[in-house]
Subunit: 158 residues, 2 copies
Protein backbone atom coordinates (compact mmCIF):
# COMPACT_ATOMS: atom_id res chain seq x y z
CA UNK A 1 0.00 0.00 0.00
CA UNK A 2 1.17 3.50 -0.85
CA UNK A 3 2.43 5.51 2.07
CA UNK A 4 3.80 9.01 2.62
CA UNK A 5 7.12 9.18 4.47
CA UNK A 6 9.00 12.04 6.05
CA UNK A 7 12.69 11.32 6.58
CA UNK A 8 14.61 13.62 8.89
CA UNK A 9 18.16 13.77 10.19
CA UNK A 10 18.45 13.82 13.97
CA UNK A 11 15.74 13.99 16.59
CA UNK A 12 13.75 17.15 17.18
CA UNK A 13 15.36 18.64 20.29
CA UNK A 14 13.57 21.99 20.22
CA UNK A 15 10.51 21.44 22.36
CA UNK A 16 8.30 24.05 20.71
CA UNK A 17 8.98 22.44 17.32
CA UNK A 18 8.33 18.91 18.59
CA UNK A 19 5.03 20.01 20.20
CA UNK A 20 3.79 21.62 16.99
CA UNK A 21 4.92 18.73 14.79
CA UNK A 22 3.14 16.20 17.00
CA UNK A 23 -0.12 18.11 16.68
CA UNK A 24 0.00 18.22 12.87
CA UNK A 25 1.18 14.63 12.46
CA UNK A 26 -1.83 13.41 14.44
CA UNK A 27 -4.09 15.31 12.03
CA UNK A 28 -2.25 14.11 8.91
CA UNK A 29 -2.66 10.49 10.03
CA UNK A 30 -6.43 10.90 10.01
CA UNK A 31 -6.17 11.42 6.24
CA UNK A 32 -3.30 9.33 4.91
CA UNK A 33 -0.88 6.54 5.89
CA UNK A 34 2.04 8.64 7.12
CA UNK A 35 5.28 7.77 8.81
CA UNK A 36 8.28 9.76 10.05
CA UNK A 37 11.69 8.08 9.88
CA UNK A 38 14.53 9.67 11.85
CA UNK A 39 18.09 8.82 10.86
CA UNK A 40 20.73 9.64 13.47
CA UNK A 41 22.71 12.86 13.05
CA UNK A 42 26.46 12.28 12.76
CA UNK A 43 28.16 12.44 16.16
CA UNK A 44 31.04 14.81 16.91
CA UNK A 45 30.24 16.52 13.64
CA UNK A 46 31.90 19.77 14.74
CA UNK A 47 35.30 18.15 14.40
CA UNK A 48 34.47 16.95 10.88
CA UNK A 49 34.41 18.72 7.49
CA UNK A 50 30.86 19.62 6.42
CA UNK A 51 31.27 17.50 3.27
CA UNK A 52 32.02 14.41 5.38
CA UNK A 53 28.98 15.05 7.61
CA UNK A 54 26.72 15.45 4.58
CA UNK A 55 28.11 12.29 3.00
CA UNK A 56 27.53 10.16 6.09
CA UNK A 57 24.09 11.60 6.71
CA UNK A 58 23.28 11.10 3.03
CA UNK A 59 24.20 7.42 3.25
CA UNK A 60 21.99 7.01 6.31
CA UNK A 61 19.11 8.64 4.43
CA UNK A 62 19.64 6.40 1.37
CA UNK A 63 19.53 3.31 3.53
CA UNK A 64 16.03 4.05 4.88
CA UNK A 65 14.26 5.27 1.73
CA UNK A 66 11.57 2.66 1.09
CA UNK A 67 11.83 0.92 -2.26
CA UNK A 68 9.65 2.21 -5.07
CA UNK A 69 9.53 5.73 -3.65
CA UNK A 70 9.14 9.05 -5.37
CA UNK A 71 11.80 11.05 -3.50
CA UNK A 72 11.32 14.77 -2.80
CA UNK A 73 14.13 16.68 -1.10
CA UNK A 74 13.14 19.76 0.90
CA UNK A 75 15.73 22.13 -0.45
CA UNK A 76 15.97 25.92 -0.60
CA UNK A 77 17.03 25.70 -4.24
CA UNK A 78 14.04 23.60 -5.21
CA UNK A 79 10.75 24.46 -6.86
CA UNK A 80 8.64 26.86 -4.85
CA UNK A 81 4.93 26.14 -4.87
CA UNK A 82 2.03 28.16 -3.61
CA UNK A 83 -0.26 26.21 -1.30
CA UNK A 84 -2.74 25.72 -4.16
CA UNK A 85 0.00 24.39 -6.44
CA UNK A 86 1.29 22.07 -3.71
CA UNK A 87 -2.25 20.80 -3.18
CA UNK A 88 -2.59 20.03 -6.92
CA UNK A 89 0.74 18.24 -6.85
CA UNK A 90 -0.27 16.15 -3.83
CA UNK A 91 -3.68 15.38 -5.31
CA UNK A 92 -2.01 13.98 -8.43
CA UNK A 93 0.64 12.14 -6.42
CA UNK A 94 -1.83 10.53 -4.04
CA UNK A 95 -4.24 9.40 -6.73
CA UNK A 96 -2.15 8.73 -9.81
CA UNK A 97 0.49 6.43 -8.49
CA UNK A 98 1.03 3.41 -6.38
CA UNK A 99 4.54 4.53 -5.43
CA UNK A 100 5.42 5.75 -1.97
CA UNK A 101 6.02 9.47 -1.61
CA UNK A 102 9.11 10.21 0.40
CA UNK A 103 9.87 13.74 1.62
CA UNK A 104 13.41 14.15 2.91
CA UNK A 105 14.64 16.94 5.16
CA UNK A 106 18.42 17.22 5.51
CA UNK A 107 20.66 17.86 8.48
CA UNK A 108 22.21 21.18 9.48
CA UNK A 109 24.61 21.07 6.51
CA UNK A 110 22.17 20.04 3.82
CA UNK A 111 22.30 17.15 1.36
CA UNK A 112 25.12 15.12 -0.14
CA UNK A 113 25.60 14.81 -3.90
CA UNK A 114 24.44 11.22 -3.57
CA UNK A 115 21.15 12.37 -2.04
CA UNK A 116 20.68 14.93 -4.85
CA UNK A 117 21.34 12.13 -7.33
CA UNK A 118 18.57 9.99 -5.87
CA UNK A 119 16.00 12.82 -5.79
CA UNK A 120 13.07 12.86 -8.18
CA UNK A 121 12.28 16.44 -7.22
CA UNK A 122 13.45 19.31 -5.02
CA UNK A 123 10.83 21.32 -3.19
CA UNK A 124 11.48 24.67 -1.49
CA UNK A 125 9.23 25.87 1.33
CA UNK A 126 10.73 29.36 1.25
CA UNK A 127 13.64 31.34 -0.19
CA UNK A 128 14.61 32.07 3.39
CA UNK A 129 16.91 29.73 5.28
CA UNK A 130 15.19 28.29 8.33
CA UNK A 131 16.67 25.96 10.98
CA UNK A 132 16.30 22.38 9.83
CA UNK A 133 14.16 21.59 12.86
CA UNK A 134 11.74 24.45 12.16
CA UNK A 135 11.44 23.19 8.56
CA UNK A 136 9.78 20.07 10.01
CA UNK A 137 7.05 22.18 11.57
CA UNK A 138 6.52 24.19 8.37
CA UNK A 139 6.30 21.02 6.32
CA UNK A 140 3.86 19.23 8.63
CA UNK A 141 1.57 22.25 8.82
CA UNK A 142 1.59 22.57 5.05
CA UNK A 143 0.97 18.89 4.42
CA UNK A 144 -1.95 19.00 6.85
CA UNK A 145 -3.23 22.14 5.08
CA UNK A 146 -3.13 20.64 1.58
CA UNK A 147 -4.87 17.49 2.82
CA UNK A 148 -7.77 19.62 4.13
CA UNK A 149 -7.93 21.29 0.70
CA UNK A 150 -7.84 17.97 -1.17
CA UNK A 151 -10.52 16.48 1.07
CA UNK A 152 -12.60 19.66 1.25
CA UNK A 153 -12.43 19.60 5.03
CA UNK A 154 -12.28 22.72 7.17
CA UNK A 155 -8.84 23.67 8.45
CA UNK A 156 -8.76 22.95 12.14
CA UNK A 157 -7.92 26.09 14.13
CA UNK A 158 -6.96 25.72 17.77
CA UNK B 1 15.42 56.62 19.25
CA UNK B 2 14.81 54.24 16.37
CA UNK B 3 13.03 51.04 17.29
CA UNK B 4 11.84 47.93 15.48
CA UNK B 5 8.20 47.00 16.04
CA UNK B 6 6.20 43.90 15.28
CA UNK B 7 2.45 44.49 15.18
CA UNK B 8 0.20 41.46 15.29
CA UNK B 9 -3.53 40.87 15.38
CA UNK B 10 -4.76 38.81 18.31
CA UNK B 11 -2.79 37.06 20.99
CA UNK B 12 -0.78 33.93 20.24
CA UNK B 13 -2.99 31.12 21.50
CA UNK B 14 -0.98 28.20 20.06
CA UNK B 15 1.39 27.28 22.87
CA UNK B 16 4.13 25.82 20.68
CA UNK B 17 4.20 29.06 18.67
CA UNK B 18 4.24 31.28 21.78
CA UNK B 19 7.11 29.24 23.29
CA UNK B 20 9.24 29.55 20.17
CA UNK B 21 8.47 33.25 19.68
CA UNK B 22 9.44 34.02 23.28
CA UNK B 23 12.82 32.36 22.79
CA UNK B 24 13.66 34.34 19.66
CA UNK B 25 12.35 37.66 20.99
CA UNK B 26 14.67 37.39 24.00
CA UNK B 27 17.60 36.93 21.60
CA UNK B 28 16.50 39.77 19.28
CA UNK B 29 16.35 42.15 22.25
CA UNK B 30 20.01 41.55 22.97
CA UNK B 31 20.74 43.17 19.59
CA UNK B 32 18.14 45.87 18.92
CA UNK B 33 15.35 47.84 20.63
CA UNK B 34 12.39 45.67 19.73
CA UNK B 35 8.75 45.70 20.75
CA UNK B 36 5.71 43.59 19.91
CA UNK B 37 2.34 45.33 19.84
CA UNK B 38 -0.78 43.14 19.84
CA UNK B 39 -4.04 44.63 18.59
CA UNK B 40 -7.16 42.73 19.58
CA UNK B 41 -8.71 40.40 17.00
CA UNK B 42 -12.31 41.31 16.15
CA UNK B 43 -14.78 39.45 18.36
CA UNK B 44 -17.53 37.26 16.97
CA UNK B 45 -15.84 37.56 13.60
CA UNK B 46 -17.46 34.37 12.32
CA UNK B 47 -20.78 36.17 12.08
CA UNK B 48 -19.20 39.01 10.11
CA UNK B 49 -18.17 39.37 6.45
CA UNK B 50 -14.40 38.97 5.98
CA UNK B 51 -14.19 42.49 4.52
CA UNK B 52 -15.67 43.96 7.69
CA UNK B 53 -13.24 41.99 9.89
CA UNK B 54 -10.27 43.14 7.82
CA UNK B 55 -11.46 46.76 7.91
CA UNK B 56 -11.83 46.81 11.70
CA UNK B 57 -8.55 45.02 12.29
CA UNK B 58 -6.90 47.38 9.80
CA UNK B 59 -8.14 50.40 11.74
CA UNK B 60 -6.79 48.93 14.98
CA UNK B 61 -3.40 48.36 13.30
CA UNK B 62 -3.32 51.93 11.94
CA UNK B 63 -4.01 53.34 15.37
CA UNK B 64 -0.92 51.73 16.93
CA UNK B 65 1.68 52.29 14.18
CA UNK B 66 4.25 54.63 15.76
CA UNK B 67 4.70 57.93 13.95
CA UNK B 68 7.61 58.21 11.55
CA UNK B 69 7.64 54.49 10.81
CA UNK B 70 8.70 52.62 7.71
CA UNK B 71 5.82 50.12 7.46
CA UNK B 72 6.38 46.61 6.13
CA UNK B 73 3.40 44.28 5.75
CA UNK B 74 4.09 40.56 5.94
CA UNK B 75 2.12 39.52 2.90
CA UNK B 76 2.21 36.45 0.65
CA UNK B 77 2.08 38.70 -2.40
CA UNK B 78 5.06 40.76 -1.27
CA UNK B 79 8.73 40.68 -2.25
CA UNK B 80 10.42 37.42 -1.41
CA UNK B 81 13.95 37.74 -0.09
CA UNK B 82 16.59 35.15 0.55
CA UNK B 83 18.07 35.35 4.04
CA UNK B 84 21.14 37.14 2.63
CA UNK B 85 18.95 39.69 0.85
CA UNK B 86 16.85 40.24 3.95
CA UNK B 87 20.05 40.75 5.98
CA UNK B 88 21.25 43.40 3.48
CA UNK B 89 17.89 45.11 3.66
CA UNK B 90 17.94 45.14 7.46
CA UNK B 91 21.54 46.33 7.57
CA UNK B 92 20.60 49.33 5.40
CA UNK B 93 17.40 49.96 7.34
CA UNK B 94 19.05 49.86 10.75
CA UNK B 95 21.96 52.08 9.80
CA UNK B 96 20.68 54.46 7.15
CA UNK B 97 17.60 55.83 8.79
CA UNK B 98 16.32 57.26 12.01
CA UNK B 99 12.78 56.09 11.26
CA UNK B 100 11.18 53.25 13.18
CA UNK B 101 10.79 49.98 11.30
CA UNK B 102 7.38 48.50 11.74
CA UNK B 103 6.59 44.94 10.60
CA UNK B 104 2.89 44.16 10.51
CA UNK B 105 1.36 40.71 10.50
CA UNK B 106 -2.35 40.56 9.69
CA UNK B 107 -5.20 38.57 11.15
CA UNK B 108 -6.69 35.37 9.77
CA UNK B 109 -8.27 37.27 6.84
CA UNK B 110 -5.32 39.41 5.86
CA UNK B 111 -5.06 43.17 5.43
CA UNK B 112 -7.57 45.89 4.61
CA UNK B 113 -7.11 48.22 1.64
CA UNK B 114 -6.36 50.97 4.15
CA UNK B 115 -3.47 48.92 5.59
CA UNK B 116 -2.12 48.28 2.07
CA UNK B 117 -2.36 52.00 1.43
CA UNK B 118 -0.20 52.82 4.46
CA UNK B 119 2.45 50.20 3.64
CA UNK B 120 5.90 51.27 2.42
CA UNK B 121 6.69 47.70 1.46
CA UNK B 122 5.25 44.19 1.36
CA UNK B 123 7.47 41.31 2.39
CA UNK B 124 6.67 37.63 1.76
CA UNK B 125 8.24 34.92 3.92
CA UNK B 126 7.06 32.17 1.58
CA UNK B 127 4.78 31.52 -1.38
CA UNK B 128 2.99 29.04 0.84
CA UNK B 129 0.12 30.13 3.06
CA UNK B 130 0.91 29.55 6.72
CA UNK B 131 -1.36 30.16 9.73
CA UNK B 132 -1.00 33.77 10.87
CA UNK B 133 0.26 32.59 14.26
CA UNK B 134 2.98 30.41 12.75
CA UNK B 135 4.08 33.40 10.63
CA UNK B 136 5.08 35.08 13.90
CA UNK B 137 7.48 32.28 14.70
CA UNK B 138 8.95 32.30 11.17
CA UNK B 139 9.43 36.04 11.30
CA UNK B 140 11.07 36.09 14.75
CA UNK B 141 13.48 33.30 13.83
CA UNK B 142 14.42 35.08 10.63
CA UNK B 143 14.88 38.46 12.28
CA UNK B 144 17.12 36.82 14.89
CA UNK B 145 19.04 35.07 12.11
CA UNK B 146 19.70 38.22 10.08
CA UNK B 147 20.83 40.06 13.23
CA UNK B 148 23.45 37.36 13.86
CA UNK B 149 24.58 37.81 10.23
CA UNK B 150 24.72 41.61 10.52
CA UNK B 151 26.64 41.44 13.79
CA UNK B 152 28.84 38.52 12.71
CA UNK B 153 27.73 36.53 15.76
CA UNK B 154 27.29 32.77 15.74
CA UNK B 155 23.72 31.53 15.38
CA UNK B 156 22.65 30.12 18.70
CA UNK B 157 21.56 26.49 18.38
CA UNK B 158 19.71 24.92 21.25
Amino acid sequence: MMKVYFIQTGKTSEKHVADGVEQYVARIRRSIPFETITVPAVRNSRAMPAEEVKKREGQAIMSVIPSDSYVILLDERGTEYSTTEFASFMRRSLSGTRRNICFVSGGAWGFSQEAYGRADMKLSLSKLTFPHQLVRLLFMEQLYRVLTLIEGKPYHHE
